[in-house]
């Protein structure tokens, strides 16, 4: 955690795979996307999806901006609790904000510095009804993978590849 708090800025590429169960029958829909992630202390986080279509999600402080297909909407992050869970799981981990993570989640850290796993379960029962659990896998001060399990069984796996500065 202390080491994470020293991260000032970073760039990475990502590949995301989602498994979405449409209904009781049939195999899950598999969706893949890729793009860039960037972070700048203290609180700016941008996820830019390049494939299959351009999309941008930027968080700066409490301001959430979503852009796609030439339109852009801004709102306050903390008025959308579902977004808070996802953004803060990553941003809070990157900034090593233990107090924030413990307020929002029941965290469980395992492994060692070279390969650690942080399990985050939302404290709010209402939110657990949507996002069941997040797992963040890391090595030293780097995030390498974010796994999210929705309460209906949908799964998302985000692999992160740091770009050397």
């Amino acid at each position: 955690m202390a080491r994470l708090a020293q991260v000032r800025a970073g760039e990475a590429t990502f590949v995301e795979r989602r498994e979405v169960f449409q209904n009781e029958r049939g195999s899950p829909l598999a969706l893949e996307s890729s793009g860039r992630l960037s972070f700048a202390a203290p609180d700016t986080f941008v996820r830019e999806t390049l494939r299959p279509r351009q999309e941008r999600l930027a968080v700066q402080g409490n301001q959430l901006t979503m852009s796609q297909g030439g339109r852009s909407r801004t709102t306050t992050l903390d008025s959308v609790p579902e977004a808070v869970v996802i953004v803060e799981a990553i941003r809070g981990t990157l900034t090593g904000n233990r107090e924030l993570l413990e307020r929002l989640f029941v965290p469980r850290l395992s492994g060692e510095a070279a390969r650690w796993t942080l399990e985050l379960v939302p404290r709010d029962a209402r939110l657990r009804g949507q996002v069941a659990q997040l797992r963040i896998l890391g090595a030293q001060a780097q995030l390498r993978e974010v796994q999210m399990t929705m309460s209906d069984g949908d799964r998302t796996q985000l692999r992160i590849e740091p770009v050397a500065p």
Partner: protein, 796 residues
């Protein structure tokens, strides 16, 4: 003579009874709108609509404070449920989602989504558009937003539901924790309730507020310990202002009455005289209320508060008569002193007449009340008191010593004339060098205390409903055109958002597209066969097979016949209160509809003076569309108010001078009378300026009153100086003069006392008048005694 006297009394009593009846049935109000201009500019009209409009004025802001977060959230849910059940509220919002009302609204919007979604046009249903829509929707699956989409994916594969939600997404919304709105800074949960009752129905507003308090008292103990209720909003302000003004008027009337009682007892030493002296007061107050009610329709609470000072002035007339008639008899008094009293009345009337013609209903009421009150009080003194007490009042009270003391002081004061003149000149010079103290604001007229304003601002900030700084106001003959013009303005504003001038804007058309936009979308919906064909192309190779999307094709077909959604369809839904505040229906037939778009400037643009003209340019040429900058408009209202009041006060003062000149017919005597008045005005103004408080319209009214009231004193001294030179003093004259001085002092003390009481009022507007007139009247008396040199005589 006896018969004439009986007739006089009978007529007077009948008039008073009639006035009492009218006054009892008059409607009393206490809102601030009386102090808004009656002939506003278009920008001001928008503001006043905002202040008076149903939707905005019906909002109650509720905070649940203290205790544990979980307890606050629980209390918020229980309170909201209870208020929704009560039936007294059109809507109660606390951040909870998924309630039955919201679900019903969701279904309604879903069933018209192809008319409402901003993404719908003919291209949307070509293979390319379908593919883009489907791809975008798929990209949300597997995220929390996807959880909402998944159940409707096959009916809405292009994500029109998401696009509608996106269009309505506010740029600033309250923080949500534990499923309810909470403050970002304070330990507080937030609710917003819209009362069913109109904003100007204060009794119903008070009842609704009481309902919130009772509901909170019932649910708070179940939720947890340490919870408190916070309540604000226009209705709360209005109800509390009314209560405050009522309490103040009551207090002032009682305290004023008590002070008069004591002074009259000192003056006469017998209760009979007291009753007599109260008659002009009663007549004056009744006449004031009746005149204001009959001519303006309502009586403002502030007018009544101000009216209590009439007690102090009207009682003067009674005192003058009862004391002076003792030596001269009624006929002698009419001959010798009535002309002076009449002149005093005329000067006061000249002062107030300027106010009565004010374009601001509040000021006009003050003027009207005072004019009719003073006339009634004077007429009562002139015609009724001589009937009831032909020889004045026999009681002497402490008048002998009072008169002699006044005589000694009056004799000593002229020695201070030079230092006082120097002081006044110095004060005038100092004033000329000071920055203008006329910095009062419209808000300073409001009796709402600063803490209540701070609570309101803090609740609004938490809710993201801060008073908008810049609005675009659009007028149109009907709902459909108002929305259409809002869409046209929105298109221009969108360009400014892209250019970084605006962070965003809220438009009613984002919640409810205009009928023409809805019809255009409906016309773009394809027939089933064409849609199926395009869909087959769009989904080829994609994860959603066209065959599974039959429900989508059916929905599109169904909505090709769907009626357009209007404001009436949204009545009673959670969208209604927000929409009603943005799309304002006319209050009377024939008046225009108004669409209000609130703008959020980016911080950079807000600091850049070049951004403002860009906004005006962007909207140029749109019909009946104007940019309204709230604070400058409010400042302009007040500046106009102040300018107008200055003109009126100046004209009033000029009328007083003209009257005096006509009566005195001597430049030297006119100067002698005006000197003390001008000097008192300057000294009071210097004192107020030195106190550092911003001065406003009511200080100006106060200064006018100083001139009107003070001229009476100066005239009396002038009268003394003019007569004492001609006739040699005998015993009776000496007694009459002592009595005259005593009556002057008594009259002055009652005036100063009643205005000093007013100065302690918690209603700033009333306090301002009191703080100006109380010292001003006292100074006017002292300076008159100092500057008008009365030849000294033995025995005085």
């Amino acid at each position: 003579m006896r018969r004439a006297a009986a007739w006089t009394l009978a007529i007077w009593l009948a008039l008073m009874a009639l006035a009492g009846l009218i006054a009892a049935r008059a409607s009393y109000v206490a809102d601030l709108s009386a102090f808004l201009p009656s002939a506003p500019t278009p920008g001001q009209r928008v503001l006043m609509e905002q202040l008076r409009n149903g939707a905005t004025a019906r909002v109650l802001l509720i905070g649940v404070r203290g205790g544990e977060p979980a307890a606050r959230a629980e209390a918020s849910r229980r309170l909201a449920a209870r208020l929704r059940e009560s039936g007294a509220f059109d809507a109660v919002h606390n951040g909870e989602t998924g309630g039955p009302q919201q679900q019903a609204l969701g279904r309604l919007l879903f069933e018209r989504r192809y008319l409402l979604s901003p993404a719908v046009d003919a291209a949307r249903f070509q293979p390319e558009g379908l593919r883009a829509g489907i791809d975008e929707t798929l990209s949300l699956l597997g995220t929390p937003a996807g959880a909402m989409i998944k159940p409707i994916l096959m009916r809405d594969p292009t994500g029109e539901t998401v696009r509608m939600a996106e269009a309505m997404l506010p740029a600033v919304a309250p923080r949500v924790e534990d499923g309810v709105w909470v403050s970002r800074r304070e330990p507080r949960a937030l609710l917003v309730a819209t009362t069913r009752a109109d904003g100007d129905d204060l009794d119903a507003q008070a009842a609704a507020q009481q309902q919130v308090r009772a509901a909170f008292a019932a649910v708070a103990p179940q939720a947890g310990p340490g919870l408190q209720l916070e309540l604000s909003g226009p209705g709360v302000f209005a109800v509390e202002s009314r209560a405050l003004i009522h309490a103040e008027v009551d207090r002032l009337a009682k305290a004023g009455g008590a002070v008069m009682l004591v002074l009259l007892l000192i003056a006469f030493g017998r209760p009979q005289a007291l009753l007599l002296a109260a008659l002009p007061v009663g007549a004056g107050v009744l006449a004031g209320i009746v005149a204001v009610d009959l001519l303006t329709g309502t009586v403002h609470g502030l007018t009544l508060g101000f009216g209590t000072t009439l007690i102090g002035e009207a009682v003067d007339y009674g005192i003058y008569y009862l004391i002076q008639a003792r030596a001269l008899g009624a006929a002698g008094w009419r001959r010798q002193h009535w002309p002076t009293v009449r002149l005093g009345l005329l000067t006061s009337l000249a002062g107030f007449a300027a106010l009565a013609f004010s374009g601001f209903a509040g000021l006009a009421q003050l003027g009207l009340f005072s004019i009719s009150g003073l006339v009634a009080a004077t007429l009562t003194t002139r015609f009724v008191l001589p009937v009831l007490a032909p020889q004045g009042s026999p009681g002497l009270g402490l008048r002998g010593p009072l008169g002699r003391a006044t005589g000694r002081i009056a004799g000593a004061l002229p020695r201070l004339a030079r230092p006082l003149a120097l002081l006044a000149a110095g004060a005038a010079l100092w004033l000329a060098l000071q920055p203008s103290p006329w910095r009062g604001t419209l808000a300073a007229l409001s009796p709402v205390p600063a803490e209540a304003m701070a609570l309101d601002a803090s609740l609004r900030e938490d809710l993201g409903a801060a008073e908008a700084g810049v609005l675009v106001a659009i007028e149109a003959p009907d709902e459909a055109q108002a929305l259409q013009r809002a869409e046209q303005a929105g298109a221009r504003l969108e360009a400014l958002v892209q250019a970084g001038v605006l962070a965003g804007y809220d438009s009613p058309a984002q919640r409810l597209p205009s009928p023409s936009a809805q019809l255009a979308r409906r016309a773009a919906l394809p027939e089933a066969a064409a849609l199926r064909q395009a869909l087959a192309q769009a989904t080829a190779g994609g994860p959603l097979p066209a065959g599974s999307l039959q429900a989508f094709v059916d929905d599109v077909q169904a909505q090709r016949r769907a009626p357009v959604l209007t404001r009436a369809d949204l009545a009673g839904t959670p969208l209604a209160s927000a929409l009603d505040a943005q799309l304002v229906a006319p209050r009377q037939t024939g008046a225009p509809w108004t669409a209000l778009l609130s703008l959020r400037m980016t911080p950079a643009a807000a600091a850049d003076p070049a951004a403002a003209p860009r906004l005006d340019q962007a909207l140029a040429g749109l019909p009946d569309t104007r940019v309204v900058r709230i604070q400058p408009e409010l400042d302009a209202i007040y500046a106009g108010y102040l300018t107008q009041a200055r003109w009126q006060a100046g004209l009033g003062a000029l009328a007083v001078v003209a009257l005096l000149a006509w009566h005195l017919r001597s430049g030297r005597r006119l100067a002698r009378v005006l000197w003390p008045l001008a000097a008192s005005g300057v000294l009071v103004l210097a004192g107020l300026t030195a106190s550092g408080q911003p001065l406003g319209v009511l200080h100006l009214v106060g200064l006018l009153l100083v001139v009107a009231v003070g001229s009476n004193y100066a005239l009396f001294f002038d009268h003394l100086a003019a007569t004492s030179g001609t006739a040699p003093a005998d015993g009776d004259d000496a007694q009459a003069e002592t009595d005259l001085l005593a009556s002057l002092l008594m009259a002055n003390l009652t005036t100063v006392a009643s205005f000093a009481l007013l100065a302690t009022a918690q209603v700033p507007a009333l306090a301002a008048v009191g703080q100006t007139v109380a010292p001003g009247a006292l100074l006017a008396l002292l300076l008159s005694a100092a500057f008008v040199r009365v030849p000294r005589r033995a025995g005085v």
